[in-house]
Point group: C2
Chain length 199, copies 2
């Protein structure tokens, strides 16, 4: 399969590349690195990316930025960061990939554990992750030509615990390589409308 991985140079994305590259034609996409570049906040940048790559079988998105701040300090413009980047960036990737995906192809998005287990200063992340998971359920019953969509909702990464552990006390972390298995299940399996909770 030809698998486009947006966010391929990140902690999760690089683990997904490692998981899939021995079996598939993996195309790594980053914001400034990778074989191709994309700014997911700009639909024209996404369209340009897919026009350059052409038809493919699977889109994996492991990207998305949100602003972390105490709820009392969150403003509409700080909420808009996550809405425009992690949420609508991934929704637009989904929408614009549809015409390039071969029949039976798949889209795999990334949310995160904060949709169900919030932390302080994470209200925007919770909101965006909850939105992505519900969007996945909805898109699964509308995508054409047997195109599937799933969402991976990982816990905090073992690799990130050194910097993030004060915010995630008691959360059991998962190594990126283990999180990557969920993307393999989505891309190489046959499910649709699933939220794969890892951790």
């Amino acid at each position: 399969m030809k698998v486009v991985i947006v966010g391929a140079t990140g902690a999760i994305g690089s683990a997904v590349v490692n998981e899939l590259r021995s079996r598939h034609d993996v195309i790594p996409v980053g914001k400034s690195r990778g074989d191709f570049q994309v700014d997911i906040t700009q639909p024209a940048s996404i369209s340009g990316l897919f026009a350059k790559i052409g038809k493919f079988d699977a889109l994996v998105s492991t990207v998305g930025h949100v602003h972390f701040a105490p709820l009392a300090e969150m403003t509409p413009s700080l909420f808009a960061v996550g809405i425009n980047d992690k949420l609508m960036g991934q929704v637009n990737l989904t929408q614009l990939s549809t015409e390039y995906l071969n029949p039976g192809g798949s889209v795999t998005l990334t949310s995160g554990i904060l949709s169900r287990e919030p932390i302080r200063a994470g209200s925007s992340a919770s909101m965006v992750n909850g939105a992505l998971e519900a969007f996945t359920l909805a898109a699964a019953i509308e995508l054409p030509r047997g195109i599937r969509i799933n969402c991976v909702s990982p816990t905090v990464l073992t690799e990130s615990m050194e910097s993030f552990c004060p915010y995630f006390r008691g959360f059991e972390p998962a190594p990126a390589a283990r999180v990557a298995l969920a993307y393999s299940k989505s891309v190489e399996g046959h499910h649709t409308g699933q939220i794969y909770r890892v951790g």
Copy 2:
């Protein structure tokens, strides 16, 4: 208790007014009707509303518009309708009400069944409802002075089935008066961070 009901003239809001008005000082707010008016897409309009009302004990929001269309026809600007209205309108109501809510007061938001049981043409509603439910979990652990927050996630209303039933085949509707009980549970009970699924 002094209870501010935003969306008081709608199908759910008017049932909540009926449920609460014999026991509480209910202040009905609408977009163009009610004792006060507010445009929830404008933070300045929300601030102006609360400045006029002064301190209160409970905010109930039964408002929010989203655009329904087939996924293939949804664009970033059509997704923005629901994000700016039902989602950020209710988030901004929550944020801006905090300083006016008395200690131990409550916020009750409204999402809907499409977060967990999608219908075709409802991807924006699913997304927004999922976002609101996860935001509720997150805000519950950050609101100050014992202020609580819950979210009611109702099925389709019995009163709306005449026009909506082609889209909701097999969904068991609930009368607005029954949905209103969940708002009473939130306002008059002591829960926080709960999603009350009705139907």
